[in-house]
Subunit: 353 residues, 2 copies
């Protein structure tokens, strides 16, 4: 059968097989590899130190949407971490008190509690510690100190009652730490499972052939070296700009030293927490300063800066296909605005200066 026709046929079949392999990697082995690198999102991001009792989560939700945590009454957590836009504000950096832009891009609160730490430089160990920052940051919510926040909340009887229930047994249930703890409890429920979790659970049809090819390429290219785990990132720090300074590609206006700012250790210069890529198609613009708006451009930059790889247009398109499959569902309950209790005559009024 080694006729010319037979050889052509064999070559043709082989070529067809190659094309088929490139377009659709064998699902079983891909799933096995993926399961070794990623995990499905948990139902809630539990913490032994902050049990997710419903009353605490509900109080935390109220505080997450509470404009009175800001000096002006203009900003709540949800202003910059808007759950209608996947936990971000889609600005390069965020607008705060007295129309001041902050220095860094607001990371999404969705799935954030699954990260190793909080903020781009990891300076807060968990969402509870993180929540205490922006409320008091003069460029963000600008409350002058924790006591200001506690006094404002303490002037509202409904809140006093809820703190007593949410932190039952504590001598002082209403403290600034507990404000943050309640917000953290709510944030721990901000989990957005989607089709990728179904795939990881064994449903091979949950991703399309293109998305699976993109996942395969995401793994092969080396993106998974940092973007792994349930949040597809968020598990480690990495130098931004391994092969060349990041600003050569991102056109960043300022050079941010990253984790160095938090630790002052030279080894931490230009290190940033690796962002999680869940819902990444919706959390533009990208990088610590939001300097890149297109996800395709961000993928291209990542290849060149972090992996010394010039990805082709086709490769970028394929990886984008996978990344878009990471968009999940923001829980409806978390997205349902609470009805906030009214201020009283003892409540401090908005201050705009």
């Amino acid at each position: 059968m080694t006729t010319k026709r037979g050889m052509l046929l064999a070559a043709g079949l082989s070529l067809a097989g190659l094309v088929l392999w490139a377009a659709a990697p064998a699902d079983g082995p891909l799933l096995t590899r993926a399961k070794a690198l990623f995990q499905p999102l948990p139902k809630a991001q539990e913490s032994a130190a902050n049990p997710l009792r419903p009353v605490r989560v509900e109080l935390g939700k109220m505080l997450y949407y509470e404009p009175r945590l800001s000096k002006s009454g203009v900003f709540s957590c949800n202003s910059c971490h808007n759950l209608a836009t996947y936990g971000v504000d889609n600005g390069a950096t965020s607008m705060g008190h007295k129309w001041t832009l902050g220095p860094r891009n607001a990371p999404t609160t969705l799935n954030a509690a699954s990260h190793v730490s909080q903020f781009w430089d990891g300076r807060a160990k968990d969402v509870e510690e993180q929540a205490k920052g922006p409320v008091l940051n003069p460029k963000e919510m600008a409350s002058p100190h924790g006591r200001f926040v506690v006094e404002r909340i303490a002037s509202i009887p409904e809140y006093v009652d809820l703190f007593q229930k949410a932190f039952a047994g504590e001598v002082h249930p209403l403290t600034y730490d507990n404000v943050a703890k309640a917000i953290g409890a709510f944030e721990r429920t901000l989990v957005t499972p989607g089709r990728f979790d179904k795939f990881l659970g064994g449903d091979l049809g949950a991703l399309t052939a293109e998305e699976k090819a993109g996942l395969d390429l995401f793994i092969e290219t080396g993106c998974v070296a940092c973007h792994m785990g349930p949040a597809v990132g968020g598990g480690m720090y990495q130098k931004f700009g391994v092969y060349k300074p990041f600003q050569t590609l991102t056109r960043s206006k300022t050079v941010d030293n990253g984790r160095f700012e938090a630790t002052r250790a030279e080894a931490d210069r230009f290190l940033f927490k690796v962002p999680g890529l869940r819902n990444v198609a919706n959390t533009y613009p990208y990088f610590h300063d939001g300097s890149v708006w297109g996800l395709g451009e961000a993928v291209k930059d990542m290849g060149e800066l972090q992996l010394d790889k010039k990805l082709t247009e086709a490769e970028i398109k394929s990886i984008l296909s996978f990344l878009r499959s990471l968009t999940g569902e923001v829980p409806r309950e978390a997205r349902t605005l609470p009805l906030l209790p009214p201020s009283t005559e003892k409540t401090s009024r908005p201050e705009y200066d």
Copy 2:
């Protein structure tokens, strides 16, 4: 039986009756009077010109929560008409673009479509016309013109598709007028029935004895001359300061000419649309400039300015009891944040100047 004891007994009974009457007016007659003055809220505030088809209402909800309607991407309708705080921002006036305070207090969007017109000076005939104002106001959302808004929305395929569905059959479904029309459709669903509607429906136990006494006093005092109808107001214009200039009591910082600013008719000087009192306990501060924070003080001022009556502390307390019963339920569906579609490379980016 005309003994001294008998006379004393009769007087005593009569006094007891008087006290009883003052504390608890006869329910039946009160209901009859109330039904002649007020109406239960409708299920939705229908409009022949803007049919409330679900796809239009849903699109309007997305636009109500859409920060991209503002030039900066910082403000949505919900920023100042926050459904977590009963359709207001609880500021004296509202914070807008470039940290600019507006001149007037943000009225609630709840039940607003039941009003005779929109804005404090009634310069918009309905919620559809109203919605076009703040988006383009340089002190509010600051979009430079309707075309800017339409082009931004037209850059997002999901919106283009929704406009085609919500305004099916129209040659140009995506226009600035239709942006406002969709928002108006959503606002027409913002109805907050509560215990007062049950009372008006014949459930005499829906209000407490104190609340019914307050309702009776609210009618007797003459508040109902303006605050009537389903929204307990919103049906007419009235001079603010009938018996003396309003600023003598409110300590307003500026003197607002009210409807005169809209019509330039001398007869309209100091006329304002009568606010609806639904949810009034939560929509502080009060009056067109938010100059009065306490509801009791507002009631006291109203008595003196509008009715030439110095209400006693007991009378104010009684009326407050009724007013607090007007707090209804903000519909959950309206309070559930939509998931907004992402921008594309064609979408204009936030501008902060």
